[in-house]
């Protein structure tokens, strides 16, 4: 019987050195997947490798074997100590795999709960594996369902809402003040690292003009080239303050450079067009008093971090809701999986009976005339049909009501169906187009 498994390590149990060694780059994935197929005989596999986790999802018959050889393979492949590796690896099978993948895709297993990058990364990992031919019906359905669960959880709960990085909090605030941010001017005072991140996000939103005023002309030039912005003389910053709608400051100045009087004067000149000042410097570049001016919104790094922490707290509250949605999706998937098994069982039962009939006909053909053999063939076909008709009908009925697993298990045991090899390529059932299974749920 085919089993799902997942094996891997993440930021919670494995130190970053380990993760770094095992992290496969995008270009390496096809090779790794190929090796997994060749050396471990995995017909279906997906490898997910991000900076915070490395996981292998796959389908196999003998899970105990996989548990043994896969870590061995990984340790050899990447030259890491096997014993240490085994200590940090986690292993899931069947139902647990489904639940784990759904949680990962939704962002529940991430360092920042509800982060959105992971879903894209999972999709990419799946896409690569699919392109290289390592995905058949089982993983296809699993991952498709995972994407759907993630989408639902993210849409129907607050798990992904509210910005959690300082830069995105700043951008969200800017949007709360200025709307769609299509016509605003941005002034960068100084060139600290966090400023760059914030700038990066704002640039994406197509502001009208962006100026950088820095005491370090080289750094200013560098950023100017990188983000297509205009470097201006630091001494001119007051002039640009009048035209700018958003100011991001992070100079190394030990004292505030943006003073109350400056801003008051500027606001009068601006006719009180709103001004958003993001002060990322420590010590602060802007006098606190500036916030008391009408239509000036001053946020320093503590304010932004405070908001981001509050948002993370809110997200955490949504975890329970997410888990509930995920449980439902896991149920759906398992239901599909059980039906998959049951279709296989029915097929195998029919295959067995057909084999018996064929055997007997071959024996009869040795002594009887072709016409008699034909009569016998037709008769045996009718017998088979009549024998199976009622039981199959009842099985279908019971299955539609959502039960009947014990019947299928009984059939499997009584007729020893595990030994039946369906007369097509290996894993014939897995190769059939998803959705065309008998009894597959309408999706």
């Amino acid at each position: 019987m085919q089993h799902l498994f997942a094996l891997g390590l993440n930021h919670r149990y494995a130190a970053v050195e380990f993760r770094e060694r095992l992290a496969f780059g995008r270009q390496e994935l096809p090779t790794v997947l190929g090796e997994l197929r060749q050396n471990l005989g995995l017909t279906e596999s997906v490898v997910l490798a991000t900076c915070n986790r490395v996981e292998v999802y796959g389908v196999a018959e003998d899970l105990a074997n996989i548990r043994r050889v896969l870590p061995e393979f990984l340790s050899l492949y990447r030259a890491v100590d096997e014993a240490s590796l085994r200590k940090t690896l986690y292993f899931f099978d069947d139902e647990e795999v489904v639940r784990h993948l759904f949680r990962v895709a939704t962002g529940l297993d991430s360092m920042v709960v509800g982060e959105s990058e992971i879903l894209g990364q999972v999709k990419e990992a799946y896409r690569v594996a699919s392109q290289e031919g390592h995905v058949k019906a089982l993983l296809h359905h699993l991952f498709e369902r995972a994407f759907r669960a993630a989408k639902r959880a993210r849409q129907e709960t607050g798990i992904a809402s509210g910005a959690v990085s300082v830069a995105s909090v700043a951008v969200e605030l800017a949007q709360k003040i200025f709307g769609r941010l299509a016509q605003e001017n941005i002034l960068l005072l100084g060139t600290g690292k966090v400023s760059e991140l914030t700038l990066k996000r704002l640039v994406r939103l197509e502001a009208r003009a962006i100026w950088i005023a820095s005491r370090n002309p080289d750094r200013a030039q560098e950023l100017a080239r990188k983000y297509d912005v205009r470097p201006v003389l630091f001494s001119d910053w007051r002039h640009y303050l009048r035209e700018a709608d958003i100011v991001i400051s992070s100079t190394a100045s030990p004292h505030p450079i943006v003073r109350y009087e400056d801003v008051k004067e500027v606001m009068a000149l601006r006719k009180h067009k709103p001004l958003f000042i993001i002060d990322l410097a420590v010590p602060r570049d802007t006098e606190e008093r500036v916030n008391s001016l009408d239509d000036v919104y001053l946020y320093n790094i503590d304010d932004l971090t405070g908001i981001s922490e509050a948002n993370v707290k809110l997200r955490r509250k949504e975890i329970a809701k997410c888990e509930a949605i995920i449980e439902k999706e896991v149920e759906h998937f398992l239901h599909w999986l059980r039906q998959l098994d049951s279709s296989a069982i029915v097929e195998k039962l029919q295959a067995r009976l057909q084999a018996i009939i064929r055997e007997e006909l071959e024996v009869a053909a040795k002594t009887e005339s072709p016409e008699r053999v034909e009569v016998l063939r037709r008769m045996l076909a009718r017998v088979k049909g009549k024998l199976l008709h009622e039981p199959l009908r009842k099985l279908k009925e019971v299955q539609e009501e959502g039960g009947g697993h014990h019947y299928f298990e009984a059939l499997q045991t009584l007729f020893d169906l595990e030994r039946v090899q369906l007369n097509h390529e290996e894993n014939k059932v897995s190769d059939r187009e998803p959705g065309k299974q008998t009894g597959a749920f309408a999706d």
């Binding site: 003040i177 200025f178 709307g179 006719k271 009180h272 067009k273 009408d294 919104y297 946020y299």
Partner: protein
């Protein structure tokens, strides 16, 4: 309860349903709930229009605004109308949460103040009179919308200043959008008020021979007109923006309220509610 008041009851029910949807969308936002809320409001508007038609027929007036409950209802109806137009143009969708309960309260009050008595106007209705009344009500409605926008602006502004960003913060539109709503509504209201005043003056001269009465409503509506003119001047000529001008528009609305409600309650004068 006659046919007319049953329709009024239905209007109230539909508005209440719309409010319920807006509230639901606020607590658990989904696209389809938001659409449903706006569609229900649209339905309420249609039923409300139906009520106006039956009221007009029943009371023998083209535009039924002679009694307090009628005026209140007509006001709420024009508010919904202005909202639907502006919301479609400016792509607003969560405004309804604040607007619909206001509208519902007004039409509920209307329902309880309903009187099944015939009304006789001491003067004849004509087109000019109709224009005057409709323009006035729609002007009030536009100013009311501006008022709602201004209040939301001030709430948002407060939150951003105090860095206390509660659930409102996430759901409210940006300051930019709110400011646009305020000024676009004021422009519309001002144009309509100008029309209302002009048509009112002309009609008065036709019927009474004079442009002007020392009627409280004449005076307060002129005051209102100047108030909003000042606001438009500040914003469009002097290019002033920000919190303070928005605050002024909040104050200006009290002038509108005074004009609409305060004066009609007093006895005497052309605009008093008819007995």
């Amino acid at each position: 309860m006659n046919a007319s008041s049953s329709i009024l009851a239905a209007v109230n029910a539909v508005y209440l349903a719309s409010f319920a949807f807006f509230l639901w969308n606020f607590l658990a936002p989904r696209d389809w709930i938001k659409r449903l809320a706006n569609q229900t409001l649209g339905l309420g508007f249609l039923v409300a229009s139906g009520f106006l038609v039956t009221e007009a027929r029943r009371s023998g007036l083209y535009i039924p605004v002679a009694r307090l409950y009628q005026a209140l209802f007509f006001f709420s109806w024009s508010m919904v109308c202005v909202y639907l137009v502006l919301a479609w143009r400016l792509k607003l969708d969560t405004f309804g949460l604040v607007l619909v309960p206001l509208v519902w309260i007004m039409s509920l009050t209307s329902f309880f103040a309903y009187e099944d008595k015939p009304v006789a106007l001491p003067y004849e209705e004509n087109v000019l009179f109709g224009v005057h009344v409709v323009a006035a009500f729609f002007a009030y409605a536009s100013f009311a919308l501006a008022f709602v926008g201004a209040i939301l602006y001030l709430i948002q502004n407060r939150g951003l200043k105090a860095k206390r960003l509660g659930p409102f913060y996430h759901r409210l539109p940006s300051l930019e959008v709110l400011e646009t709503v305020v000024y676009q509504s004021i422009i519309l209201g001002f144009a309509l008020l100008t029309l209302a005043l002009a048509s009112g003056f002309i009609w008065t001269r036709d019927v009474f021979g004079v442009f002007w009465h020392w009627d409280p409503k004449f005076m307060s509506s002129l005051l209102t007109w100047f108030f909003y003119l000042a606001i438009l001047y500040l914003h469009y000529v002097k290019s002033l923006r920000g919190r303070n001008v928005v605050m002024v528009s909040v104050l200006a609305f009290f002038c509108v309220l005074l004009t609409f409600l305060g004066v009609n309650v007093f006895e005497g004068g052309v605009h008093s509610f008819l007995k």
